[in-house]
């Protein structure tokens, strides 16, 4: 995808700058009536930066003194600095007068405008950005080491308090810190696995739809075959036969989630390949590969983005289920699923161990579902209101 200006690149903002995208998105296109929302969001953003800096001040001061600083702390510091930079840029932009909307708007600009009007979807976007931000800042924000075991007599099964926001578990570990670190694992697994499955699904669907004939028959029969297995069954069989590890979980989640996208893309490609612009491209003497990947596939991206967003939520749920069964992320590493499983035997006496990681999953998945629904409404002309 190099050379030509590509609309979908503009639609997906790069991750570290994402906070700014929320700013821009919330500010509205025709500025006047939305000043207050913009100011509030700016204030919230700065509040976030400052509180992040304050919370991590102690740790930041301790940095140069320590011999070895883990890489993720540096990443967190860089993310914080980047966030502050992005906020500064957003503030400057907000203070300057805005250009009027252009006359000829592209499909993505129109969709963006619809999306911004959907308050629930914007809330989903905000929560998602916040979550990814938190995953970057975790080493600075977490009050305790997620693996540090407390005093086995005095600090295990402590109920939630100001010192331990979500209590402690059976080894005296701080549940809040573990939920924060678990967010990193769960969100990254969701992101990478969906990346794999969307790429695969788009590839398979595009090939099947474009070439038709035996390629189509073969690929679609294979898709049917994979769909016949309940996903969790296939996952536990594969993962249990090999050694469970983080990368295996990511890979297998990716390899078992592409079928929906493949069917979706195939349907789109089937209708696109009969259109005039494809004929024109062929008449110009372009090869199949070029027509398919430069002209047909970019036009299928809107539904793929929607299904990817909804897919991240589903993947986080599936990963949590796997970890709950003990086949996903392995115990010393915290993941929301294995934390819920950890608290299972102490359900009555210490409800907080299971409840908080579970709530974290619920809110994350709700955010992704709201975002996906909003994107679907915005990107599909038939659903626009």
């Amino acid at each position: 995808m190099r050379g030509r200006a590509n609309p979908d690149v503009a639609a997906a903002p790069p991750e570290p700058l994402a906070a700014d995208a929320a700013e821009r998105a919330a500010a509205g296109v025709r500025g006047e009536g939305r000043r207050w929302t913009r100011l509030t969001l700016l204030a919230l953003g700065w509040g976030l930066v400052l509180s992040g800096a304050l919370l991590s001040a102690e740790r930041l001061r301790a940095l140069p003194g320590r011999a070895r600083v883990p890489l993720d702390v540096w990443v967190a510091v860089a993310a914080l600095a980047l966030l502050a930079g992005a906020m500064g840029w957003a503030t400057r932009r907000a203070l300057r007068p805005r250009r009027a909307a252009r006359v000829g708007d592209s499909q993505w600009v129109i969709a963006g405008r619809h999306f911004r009007r959907n308050r629930l979807a914007m809330a989903g976007l905000a929560v998602m950005l916040l979550l990814y931000l938190v995953t970057l800042l975790t080493p600075l924000l977490a009050p305790y080491d997620p693996a540090a075991q407390g005093d086995i007599v005095r600090s295990r099964y402590l109920p939630p308090s100001l010192e331990h926001l979500m209590g402690t578990d059976k080894f005296g570990r701080d549940v809040f810190s573990r939920v924060l670190y678990g967010a990193r694992i769960s969100l990254s697994i969701g992101f990478v696995a969906v990346g794999i499955s969307v790429t695969l699904g788009t590839l398979f669907g595009a090939l099947a739809g474009y070439f038709g004939g035996w390629v189509d028959a073969l690929l679609m029969r294979f898709t049917d075959l994979m769909l016949a297995f309940p996903r969790l069954v296939l996952l536990i069989v594969v993962i249990a036969l090999f050694e469970p590890s983080l990368w295996l979980v990511v890979l297998v989640l990716g390899l078992t989630g592409w079928m929906g996208t493949a069917r979706l893309v195939r349907g789109e490609v089937l209708s696109l390949r009969e259109r005039e612009f494809v004929l024109a491209a062929r008449a110009l003497g372009m090869g199949d590969a070029r027509i398919l990947f430069r002209h047909v596939v970019p036009n299928t991206l809107a539904p793929v983005i929607v299904s990817a967003t909804l897919g991240i939520g589903q993947t986080i749920l599936t990963e949590a289920s796997l970890s709950f069964l003990g086949l996903g992320v392995q115990p010393p590493t915290p993941s929301w699923g294995n934390m819920v499983a950890d608290g299972r035997d102490q359900l009555i006496a210490s409800w907080w161990i299971t409840t908080f990681p579970g709530l974290a999953i619920v809110f994350t998945v709700i955010a992704f579902n709201l975002l996906g629904d909003g994107l679907r409404d915005a990107l599909d002309p038939r659903l626009r209101t």
């Binding site: 297995f229 594969v238 036969l241 949590a320 289920s321 819920v340 009555i348 998945v365």
Partner: protein
């Protein structure tokens, strides 16, 4: 109709063969083999070697494949090392347990989901609609296993602790000594044991069905023939349930086939949590015991149930919509 049915049945055959092949290669490409569970310092390597020869594991892969396929097709599922019983003897009871759970859950999903969806569509944009949409989203986004644990916490453990008038059993299919009770009491006992697992399994999907039903009902409600029905003076209930519902149901039927794999995935978790002796729990146990033949047999049976479920959904769809049969 008969031609349609035959066509669909024939279409399922290569699918089932493909499933068998896939399972075979997944299991055989993995490191380790069924004898791995017998490795120990007390077992001589010659014994393991003999065991491999007895099981036919020393033969080339394609020979094993053909043999395995042949025995599967003749209904011989092999022998479970974990349970020390022939799998063919084990499976029917376990499958029936899972079917009880899944079917009850399926009924729950569709009744609950459809009712909620209809209410939402009829009262579009009302407070009830918005509230139900949000509640549905909340349950839809909830992990099954966590919901199951919360159900146990509130409706079983805390309910007893706080002395609520009703509390449900948190595990098993029947209480101790249930087989000595009269039939109706046994049945009631089973129903009581089914409440929590079926609800935990179904509620998330019910929310999905409700979302779908709302959309499909809204599409139908705005059509001309509904206006005609109202114009000729029919009561609202009759318009909705007799005229609109029939057409709104069409797309929802396809969900039946779609939700079956989803339910069976959920059953793995729910059965593990509620100690329900079904397929899901069997496969998890088999995996932790490295009981390869049982893993292969159960995953095949689960996949076959999904294929069958899809077939039933297709046939139902063709029954209610004549356009499909002609395709």
């Amino acid at each position: 109709m008969l031609a349609f049915l035959l066509r669909r049945l024939l279409g399922a055959v290569p699918l089932l063969l493909g499933i068998l092949t896939l399972i075979f290669f997944i299991v055989h490409l993995a490191p380790g083999d069924p004898t791995a569970r017998f490795y120990s310092p007390n077992v001589a390597p010659e014994v393991i070697e003999q065991m491999r020869r007895n099981l036919g594991l020393d033969q080339p892969l394609h020979v094993q494949y053909v043999k395995w396929l042949k025995s599967f097709l003749t209904g011989d599922f092999g022998y479970s090392f974990g349970q020390m019983r022939p799998i063919g003897e084990l499976l029917p009871g376990v499958l029936w347990n899972t079917l009880q759970l899944t079917l009850v859950s399926l009924v729950l999903i569709f009744v609950l989901g459809m009712l909620i969806g209809i209410v939402q569509a009829v009262r579009q944009y009302s407070l009830a609609d918005n509230l139900l949409t949000f509640v549905a989203l909340f349950f839809y986004s909830m992990p099954t296993f966590w919901l199951a644990l919360m159900f146990i916490l509130f409706f079983s453990l805390k309910a007893q602790q706080w002395g609520w008038p009703i509390s449900f059993p948190a595990s098993g299919m029947s209480r101790v000594g249930a087989e000595f009770l009269p039939l109706h009491a046994q049945l009631w006992d089973r129903v009581v044991h089914l409440v929590l697992p079926a609800a935990a399994l179904g509620i998330g999907s019910a929310a999905g069905v409700a979302r779908y039903m709302r959309g499909s009902m809204l599409e139908v409600i705005h059509q001309d023939y509904i206006r005609t029905a109202r114009a000729k003076g029919l009561g609202e209930a009759r318009v909705i349930f007799r005229h609109a519902l029939k057409n709104a149901l069409l797309p929802v039927i396809t969900l039946l086939g779609l939700y079956l794999p989803f339910l069976l995935s959920g059953a793995v978790l729910v059965e593990t949590i509620f100690a329900w002796p079904g397929m899901g729990r069997l496969i998890v146990d088999a995996i932790f015991q490295r009981d390869y033949p049982l893993v292969m047999a159960t995953s095949f049976v689960i996949a076959a149930v999904v294929v069958l479920g899809n077939l039933v959904a297709d046939v139902l769809y063709a029954l209610v919509d004549p356009r499909i049969r002609a395709e």
